[in-house]
């Protein structure tokens, strides 16, 4: 994330213009935090799919008063991260709209998340395939990631799953956001060799 996405000039520009930024180390402090290998900043960055490392990184886009607009678990490529960040900014406009009642605002939130998922490009969806070692775990531990009826059966791509899960959580306060169930996208721990 840091060497690719957060280092991207356009990401930096949009983030700094619209957001104040913060991070916190949750290692050992949350039950849902991942336990995979740590990468020192001298280790090379590998190409992975969106949402890889979902238990190690969670990125929240929040309103000024702490309501969750959107959450991206794991790594996201710069192009797709920008796409989702701009969507979060759009959701903020809905949140702060004085023309809408609370229920209208929540309905619009749900619609926008599902419409946004439906508009995702083929490239974004291809880049959001679950990792092979997560597939078996996802099928056993969740009931919203597999399509069993209709023409298109099989595992959904994770970009679709997160938007559907966000749609069920309209403007939830950050401190009440159920991160553990939101990031149920596979294994919490995966050991592998880190190559320089």
């Amino acid at each position: 994330m840091r060497a690719v996405t957060l280092s991207d000039a356009k990401v930096r520009q949009v983030l700094n213009r619209n957001f104040v930024c913060g991070w916190k180390n949750i290692k050992g402090k949350k039950k849902y935090s991942g336990k995979s290998n740590a990468h020192p900043p001298t280790t090379g960055a590998y190409q992975v799919n969106n949402c890889a490392g979902h238990h190690n990184v969670q990125m929240f886009f929040l309103s000024k008063d702490g309501r969750v607009l959107h959450c991206l678990p794991g790594y996201w490529s710069p192009r797709h991260f920008l796409h989702e960040m701009e969507f979060a900014i759009k959701l903020a406009r809905v949140y702060y709209s004085k023309r809408l009642s609370t229920s209208e605002r929540n309905d619009k939130y749900l619609d926008l998340h599902l419409q946004h998922a439906g508009s995702h490009s083929a490239s974004l969806q291809r880049s959001s395939q679950p990792q092979n070692f997560d597939k078996g775990v996802i099928k056993k531990t969740t009931d919203d990631v597999e399509r069993t009826k209709g023409f298109k059966k099989g595992l959904k791509t994770l970009d679709q799953v997160i938007h559907e899960r966000m749609a069920e959580r309209p403007f939830v306060p950050f401190k009440k956001f159920d991160v553990a169930s939101y990031i149920k996208l596979g294994r919490k721990q995966y050991k592998y060799k880190i190559r320089d």
């Binding site: 916190k24 740590a38 590998y46 000024k64």
Partner: protein
């Protein structure tokens, strides 16, 4: 017959090795470059380290909040 079995086994080993190499994740950024970019990320953004501090800044500056939860440190092992 033995030669055929040997030849087929050899082809199988070569093809699975090639497939494994194809499926191995590719390095996007070298370790040295990751180190350089990490330092820039730390300096190019103004980072808060608690949610409450971030919220105060958001209210003061009139901006939204971008808050990351990480297993590790942004400037260290992640």
């Amino acid at each position: 017959m033995r030669r055929v079995v040997f030849f087929l086994s050899l082809m199988l080993i070569i093809s699975t090795s090639a497939l494994r190499a194809q499926n191995a994740p590719k390095v996007m950024v070298s370790g040295a470059e990751v180190e350089r970019r990490t330092k820039r990320v730390i300096s190019d953004y103004k980072w808060s380290h608690t949610y409450d501090d971030l919220k105060k800044r958001a209210e003061k500056e009139g901006k939204l909040m971008f808050y990351m939860q990480l297993v590790g440190n942004l400037d260290g092992g992640l």
